[in-house]
């Protein structure tokens, strides 16, 4: 995956005070929740600078430009900060404080390519809908736009749009199929009753989608072409990074299994199967499954872990080498991390998606207990807890870990950027 | 007469018990298997505590709002159901047959009591019959099979009563009585009389859903 180059970040071991956020209170009387940049060097927050006048304070400095509304602060992986801003009712995207030239009646759903260079939002102007990438709107407009999806390189943007005008209440017209997928402003030739989860191929050339061709027939469409099989339901498809084939969870006779290009792929079925994902080399597929009613786990190439959870399993992730899998599991209201079929001993009030080290050997995750946050690596917690914390990042050599957090007492409110040797925590 | 008597009180009894126990077991097991396959909820949400809590309320006269709202029906149906189960089991004439055949016996009710209870059962059956004919909401639901089932249940008691009192043709009636009892027993698994077997499960399941999941009473 073409990630941003994080080897250029400051990986010097140590603790760096970035900003004392308590000072914000003296500067502004309206402070929203802060967002830290991926490299941890910056922390940004929406603030009110006057009556109906908002800005973003980055570290200690507010943007020069103010707006009458700001929301959806998001850092790209290249550490640029985006916000959705309104000036006199005209909406656009501000990147590092500078608004795009085009304005719209509304913008939302900011998305980035993997390297952060390409920024896309959904936009509405004069009741027409379209996407805007790097300040360049689609030329074609639609009466609605949903499921905004962007390719890995961020260059191609897909969504679901109505392609046939229907009056509200015309249920029969609806059932003939009035929706299609649109890629970079160009809709597919075929119309469907519904489309949902869109997925780009790894080369960004192809798009697959969950479709419903009648009220009862679900299948997968790839570039507008349907699989020749229908199912009673399907979930989001994925392209194989290895050969470009498409797989999707499909429901047959009340059970779920994985199908590939319209043919059964896994030889066993589950009470549930969704969020399947490929290892980087495409050789392995893992999915969240319910092996029986109410028991959740991960299945790799169709074989489930013996460890199961009763409440849920979510946020599964492959290690970079494709040999390991980590996920979040919840049982009896308590959350934990499971890696390769084994759960960490400790339970938490909340856990965030686990992160693998680049060498695939370590797993770290942000966790919450009693309103305090900390980072846990391979089950061992950082001694310190924080009142706000962001997901940890391993150094490119996997030896260090970057922690970004706002400390509670005694340093109340200070935002630190910490680089720690992983061994300090795991021992 | 000996041959007929011996047949109905011998092999036919066996047949009816085998059909009753075997059939009931078969119905229960096949339902359980089907539920395992198709109605996983039944297993997942069945709760012993809340199932029994609900059953308990429903098997106690006036234990539910419904029972309290229809006192006459409640009295009749409880007496009826208690009687049709207790009479055949605790009737001395039946017990002596068990004693003769298997040398087992237990406590029995006096014949005079049974005599009165039999009248109660028969009266209850008439009550149910009249209800079916007179009450529009019951009549609407009633089909021929409902009368047949009522007849199946009433028959052993009417014939038994007749035989006991030795009215005209009581010998033949005695034979009919035995056959009627056997028919009733054998038809339980295969008619709506199965409600006797399924009651704990349907009520228990609803009680579990209401109690354990929805934290509400179902009575």
């Amino acid at each position: 995956m073409a990630m941003h180059n994080f080897s250029t970040w400051d990986w010097e071991t140590g603790k760096k005070l970035v900003v004392d956020t308590t000072k914000w209170k003296d500067m502004f009387n309206w402070i929203e929740e802060p967002y830290a940049s991926p490299d941890g060097e910056r922390i940004a927050v929406v603030v009110k600078t006057g009556d109906m006048e908002f800005s973003v304070c980055e570290n200690n400095t507010p943007w020069q430009n103010t707006f009458d509304k700001i929301w959806y602060l998001k850092f790209g992986s290249d550490n640029r900060l985006t916000a959705l801003v309104s000036d006199m009712g005209a909406w656009t995207v501000a990147v590092d404080g500078v608004a795009w030239e085009n304005t719209f009646d509304f913008v939302w759903n900011t998305k980035f390519g993997a390297d952060g260079k390409n920024i896309t939002v959904a936009a509405q102007k004069d009741m027409e809908y379209f996407a805007v990438t790097n300040d360049i709107p689609w030329e074609t407009r639609f009466s609605d736009l949903s499921n905004l999806t962007i390719s890995h390189d961020g260059k191609r943007v897909a969504g679901v749009v109505p392609t046939v005008m229907i009056k509200q209440g015309d249920i029969f017209k609806f059932q003939e199929g009035c929706y299609s997928a649109v890629v970079n402003g160009k809709p597919w030739d075929a119309n469907f009753v519904n489309l949902w989860g869109l997925a780009f191929s790894h080369d960004s050339e192809h798009v697959a989608a969950e479709v419903r061709t009648s009220l009862y027939d679900y299948t997968i469409a790839v570039d507008g072409v349907l699989w020749d099989k229908v199912y009673s339901s399907v979930w989001m498809p994925q392209f194989s990074p290895a050969n470009g084939s498409v797989t999707a969870p499909v429901r047959i006779a009340g059970k779920w299994t994985l199908a590939q290009d319209g043919k059964l792929f896994w030889d066993r079925s589950f009470d549930q199967l969704w969020h399947h994902m490929y290892s980087t080399d495409g050789k392995k597929i893992a999915a969240i499954v319910a092996t029986k009613y109410g028991r959740w786990t991960i299945a790799v190439n169709g074989i489930p872990w013996s460890l199961t959870f009763g409440d849920l399993v979510t946020d599964a992730v492959f290690s970079p080498d494709g040999n390991r899998i980590a996920c979040i599991g919840k049982e009896d209201g308590k959350w934990t991390i499971a890696v390769d079929g084994r759960a960490w001993g400790e339970k938490y009030d909340m856990v965030w998606q686990p992160v693998f080290s680049p060498d695939s050997r370590k797993v770290a995750a942000k966790v919450e207990r009693n309103g305090q946050y900390t980072t846990v690596i391979d089950g061992k917690p950082l001694k310190k807890s924080y009142k706000a914390l962001w997901n940890p990042v391993f150094s490119p050599d996997s030896k260090k870990i970057l922690i970004k957090g706002i400390e509670g007492d005694p340093d109340g409110g200070k935002y630190f950027r910490l680089v720690l040797p992983v061994n300090d925590i795991t021992g | 007469m000996h041959d007929i008597y011996n047949f109905v009180s011998g092999p036919l009894v066996w047949v009816s018990f085998v059909i009753f126990f075997g059939g009931s077991l078969y119905r229960l097991i096949s339902m359980a298997v089907l539920a395992r396959k198709k109605d996983v909820f039944v297993y997942e949400y069945m709760s012993l505590k809340f199932g029994l809590r609900s059953i308990l309320h429903w098997i106690i006269p006036f234990g539910t709002v419904k029972w309290r709202k229809n006192p006459l029906f409640t009295i009749v149906t409880f007496t009826f159901h208690v009687c049709i189960i207790f009479i055949p089991i605790f009737l001395s004439a039946h017990i002596i047959l068990w004693k003769e055949s298997w040398d087992i016996s237990w406590w029995y009710i006096s014949d005079t009591t049974v005599d009165i209870l039999a009248v109660v059962v028969i009266a209850s059956c008439i009550f149910f019959l009249v209800r079916r004919i007179v009450l529009p909401e019951v009549k609407y639901l009633t089909s021929v099979s409902d009368y047949v089932i009522l007849a199946i249940v009433a028959a052993p008691f009417i014939t038994g009563f007749w035989t006991y009192h030795q009215w005209a043709g009581f010998r033949v009636m005695g034979i009919i009585h035995i056959i009627a009892g056997e028919i009733m027993l054998a038809s339980i698994p295969f008619t709506r009389l199965i409600h006797m077997i399924f009651f704990p499960f349907t009520r228990g399941y609803m009680g579990s859903e209401f109690g354990a999941i929805r934290h509400a009473k179902d009575w």
């Binding site: - | 007469m1 000996h2 041959d3 008597y5 011996n6 001395s92 004439a93 017990i95 002596i96 004693k99 003769e100 040398d103 016996s105 406590w107 029995y108 006096s110 014949d111 035989t163 006991y164 009192h165 030795q166 009581f170 010998r171 005695g174």
Partner: protein, 128 residues
């Protein structure tokens, strides 16, 4: 007692007497199967015409029915017509009277079954 009542009782008794005589049963032969062990009768006692029964059934030996068992073996030379069944067939304390009922039933009904003759159903022996 009033006169009228007295008359009515007398008439009833007379009619009853005549009826009994006309029924053809000889007075001394009409008897019931009784056993003092039956403290409380569940059913009316079984009317039993001893001689007529034996005549019909072709029973000559007393011990066909009034048998005597010694050490589990029947003593064919002895008979027990002077005894009540319950003298030998003792009922254990705590046992219900079904045990005694059972031996009576087996004696009568059992034989009837064997011979395929005579009553076998409850109300055939126990009249109202």
């Amino acid at each position: 007692m009033e006169k009228r009542t007295l008359i009515i009782y007398t008439v009833i008794t007379l009619i009853g007497f005549i009826f009994a005589v006309m029924s053809g049963y000889s007075q001394e032969d009409v008897t019931n199967v009784e056993d003092s062990a039956f403290e409380k009768k569940m059913r009316p006692a079984v009317p039993f015409l001893h001689d007529k029964h034996n005549e019909t059934a072709g029973i000559d030996e007393c011990n066909t029915c009034h048998h005597v068992y010694e050490d589990g073996k029947e003593n064919e030379d002895d008979s027990s017509e002077e005894q009540e069944c319950s003298e030998c067939h003792t009922i254990n304390k705590g046992d219900n009277s079904m045990a005694l009922v059972k031996i009576y039933h087996l004696q009568c009904k059992g034989c009837h079954q064997k011979k395929k003759a005579g009553p076998i159903m409850c109300s055939e022996c126990h009249p109202r």
